[in-house]
């Protein structure tokens, strides 16, 4: 094969003529993120995450073969943003509750989320009800997580060469469906192969996913040296008067508050420069003074949450959504794909512990009303910052707070945040 030279973002690169761009770029030390691209499979061109420009025309990088003199753009601001947006679309289109996902930490999609620095999605979550199909012999397909990359369709076949997966429907209703008859013919190894090539947690093998994790958390990065020292905070002591912080937990699990306390003794340093007003940490129930910053854990699932949130907006200069639930609903939003009536019936009338023939759903003027869905905070009031994570770690939260309070530039480094 002939060697050719081409350019990526102005850098001279060489490769074999006709080589796939993704591979060619890799050899030249340039990483182009992909989700559907898979080794020997013909380019699928479905996820579009690898969108690049070739001589000014956009094209999915995986469908491009390099040729002499090509001028390729990969990491321009426009393309970086488009890539991030496409991933965000995947997050809002499916229902990705990473903390309860078997693949978390070993998930290529989640990893790309970190990699591209998604803190919150610019698009509203669509919360479409999607099925989890556990009918097959070995495999469970969780449609909530499928990104329709087509890898399984092209790659997974029975020994006779028949497909096991295929798309059904079209448009926004497109699904990856499974052929039960063919699936039953898969060997254990073939089934596990399907699970491993899936870039998300959509394909699972029964008995292989719970109990012990089926993969390593290969995308975890340690962040030991990144811990901030609270001594540094003290330098603000002399120059500023104490800043006031308020916190609350709405429809959350208090995990984010637990996480805040994880700074351990650091909190002692912290309270030298800040004081807490309304917060479960101080047990102050009502605002006594206007605050600089409000930290909100959890989204809004009932009328009381809304009132509290609005009160925070009124009493705080800056509002920060802390954690996934606050940012987009998180785990409580699992109910968003199910009609409210079913939820209430399941909880109060048909649950294992409810009385036989129970017909009353509790309601009293003192009990907050349940909203039709769990709302993210920024759907209800204006939110100034988002701290992703489930929960975000302590250093991370206080890092952000510190930087906001003392007006220093700060952007979150990849290893520091986690969706799970």
């Amino acid at each position: 094969m002939k060697n050719i030279s081409f350019k990526i973002d102005g850098r001279n690169c060489t490769a074999e003529q006709g080589q796939n761009l993704i591979e060619a770029a890799k050899q030249n030390g340039i990483f182009i993120p992909t989700l559907c691209h898979f080794k020997h499979l013909n380019p699928l061109g479905s996820c579009r995450v690898c969108t690049v420009k070739n001589n000014g025309r956009t094209i999915a990088g995986c469908t491009l073969n390099v040729d002499e003199g090509m001028d390729i753009e990969v990491n321009t601001p426009e393309l970086l943003d488009a890539r991030k947006a496409i991933l965000e679309m995947m997050f809002v289109e499916g229902n990705h509750f990473c903390p309860s996902c078997e693949k978390s930490g070993d998930c290529q999609m989640q990893n790309l989320g970190y990699e591209t620095g998604i803190r919150y999605t610019r698009f509203p979550h669509l919360f479409v009800d999607r099925i989890v199909d556990a009918r097959p012999e070995r495999i469970v397909v969780n449609q909530n997580r499928c990104i329709k990359c087509k890898r399984c369709i092209e790659e997974v076949r029975t020994t006779d060469g028949n497909r096991v997966f295929n798309f059904t429907n079209r448009g926004n209703k497109t699904l990856v469906s499974i052929d039960y008859e063919q699936e039953a013919k898969l060997s254990d190894t073939q089934a596990e192969h399907a699970m491993h090539i899936c870039p998300t947690g959509s394909i699972l093998v029964k008995g292989k996913s719970f109990g012990k994790p089926f993969g390593n958390r290969e995308f975890d990065y340690s962040n030991k040296e990144k811990n901030i020292s609270f001594n540094e905070i003290k330098k603000h002591k002399t120059t500023h008067k104490k800043k006031r912080i308020a916190t609350t937990s709405l429809a959350g699990c208090f995990g984010c508050h637990m996480s805040m306390l994880d700074v351990d003794l650091g909190i002692l340093d912290l309270i030298e420069v800040v004081e807490f007003n309304k917060s479960p940490i101080t047990d102050i129930k009502n605002f006594t003074e206007h605050c600089d910053i409000g930290l909100i854990e959890g989204g809004c699932c009932n009328t009381h949450n809304i009132e509290v949130l609005r009160e925070f907006r009124k009493n705080c200069d800056i509002l920060v959504s802390v954690g996934e639930c606050a940012i987009w609903g998180g785990l409580p939003a699992i109910r968003n794909t199910v009609p409210l009536e079913e939820c209430l019936k399941e909880a109060y009338l048909n649950s294992m512990t409810s009385e036989e023939n129970e017909i009353i759903i509790p309601n009293h003027e003192d009990i907050p009303k349940i909203l039709n869905k769990v709302y993210s905070n920024h759907e209800v009031v204006k939110i100034d910052y988002h701290i992703p994570g489930c929960p975000p770690n302590a250093n991370h939260i206080w890092n952000v707070v510190k930087h906001i309070l003392f007006e220093e530039e700060y952007s979150i480094a990849y290893p520091e945040f986690k969706y799970d």
């Binding site: 013909n42 699928l44 061109g45 479905s46 579009r48 995450v49 956009t58 999915a60 469908t63 426009e78 943003d81 488009a82 947006a85 496409i86 679309m89 995947m90 809002v92 289109e93 669509l126 990104i147 329709k148 087509k150 029975t158 028949n162 497909r163 997966f165 295929n166 798309f167 059904t168 429907n169 079209r170 448009g171 926004n172 497109t174 469906s177 499974i178 052929d179 008859e181 063919q182 009328t303 809304i306 907006r313 409210l340 009536e341 209430l344 009338l349 017909i359 009353i360 759903i361 309601n363 009303k369 349940i370 909203l371 039709n372 709302y375 920024h378 759907e379 209800v380 009031v381 204006k382």
Partner: protein, 575 residues
Amino acid sequence: MDRTQLLNKLWEYQHEFGYISKNAISKISKSLQVSNIEIESVISFYHFFHKQPTGKNIIYLNNNIISEIKGFEDIKTTFEKETGCNFNEQGNDEFSLFETSCIGLNDQEPAALINFLPFTDLTPKKVKLIIQKIKNGENLKDFASKTKSKIQYTPKEDKTVLFRPYVMGKSIKEGLKYSSQEVIDKITKSKLLGLGGAFFPAGYKWQSCKNNVDDIKYIICNADEGEPGTFKDRAILQHVPGLLYEGMILAGYATGAKEGIIYLRAEYLYLLPELEKLLEEFYSKNLLGKNILGVEGYDFDIRYQIGAGSYVCGAASALIESMEGRRGEPPVRMWSATKHGFKHKPTVVNNVETLAYASRIIELGEDFFLSLGTEESPGTKLISISGDVAKPGIYEIEYGTSFKKLLGIEMSQATAPYFLQVSGPSGDCINSSEFDRKICKEDLLCGGALMVFNRNRDILQIFRNFMEFFKEESCGVCTPCRAGNFILTEKVKKIQRGLCSQEDLDDIKQWGKIIKLSSRCGLGKTSPNSLMMAIDKFPDYFNIKIAPSNEDQHVEFDMENAIHEFDSIIKDTQL
């Protein structure tokens, strides 16, 4: 069975039983030696194939925007009331009701297909009558509507190209005076553009198909006119179908192809009997078949392939996928169709109108064609006009005609035109300051649809209709189009709920740009176009939509709405 026969096989079952059963699926998959899911995947891609039993009478009611403004909702409820069925559900033994996107009858809306026969200009009264007749056991064929569109305008004197009197075989005889290369040269010289909406030079396609040497080549006619608002191809099929056949036969002569296939959308199935009769006449006159008109070795056959309800199949590459018995997903393209097209053989895919013009160009000479229209786009063009005009129908106009003229008293007689949608939802919208613009390559090309809306029409309603259309018709294979059009639909709905800020409008432009940038095929690359344009072109309209600013201006939350559901559930469960 050969995979290319799959769609036909599915149609057999669909027509005979009203659906394609599990059993049928197994049978088909066995004979094709593929898994069941592969067949199901094809069935569920196409709108007109059903996996559940349907009633004896399947009613498809058009839900495009023109239908909507001409009374769709009333018609829909009348159908539901009269049949006792709900739309988009399985229905009963007698009836099944479905909505469907544009069926190419925009000049006669609201319109529906009942067992693929057309019923147009529907009113609640008419619907009642139709259902009554069906229930009385009358034959649908006896009272189906006549759909022939009115040709409202043709250029004066002998400037008319398409709709001048047609003499069978004239173009072929004329064409045979030249060598195949000369025929292509004539088409190239005439600057004939692809008239399905992509405007790719026709001569170039023919030439490159000719140059790709192979034993088998195909001429495919794209009669899958799915762009909402377009019905000009139907007009050709009803008024001058012979031109289409001759265009194909000439294309075969020019490129060396011996087989022609017309991919006809199922929405036009009712045209098929007439069209096939004409085909026979062509055979009997030796204009088709072996040694055409006595020319040794000049063989050409034409057959029909019926589509099954999918907009995206109107794109040449998806159309080929569909003909090969697969989902109509536009493939990742490594070659052009003229090199590796249908069955991997060199293939020309031309639109109905393009082929009809090709035939006229050979018949009348390219110089005549070049004397009409504009420098870059010579000749005439068919425009199908619908909406708020007194004279909806077909207009054959010279390129270079302005919108103002089209809307004026001598032509369509629009009433207070305000918003024009040119070339369908994937095209451009224009406002009144642009009515002087001209239809031609130098200014604005038009694929064939012109939808006119007056001042009283709600622009957001138009776009909600368009976006829902794209959301459903996206093939679903790539993220930005599948999810992006869904997201934009939700955004339009939000603005319709009265929750609009400058930010929302900016979002639309930003997000639209990303969808356009990264989608795989033309559908996603054009779907947000018009919506994005409208924001700039209709500032008066959108500015009023923006809610007065306050602290929570960009925030969507309506407490009353949020607790309404709880309240109503609780009401029924308390003591």
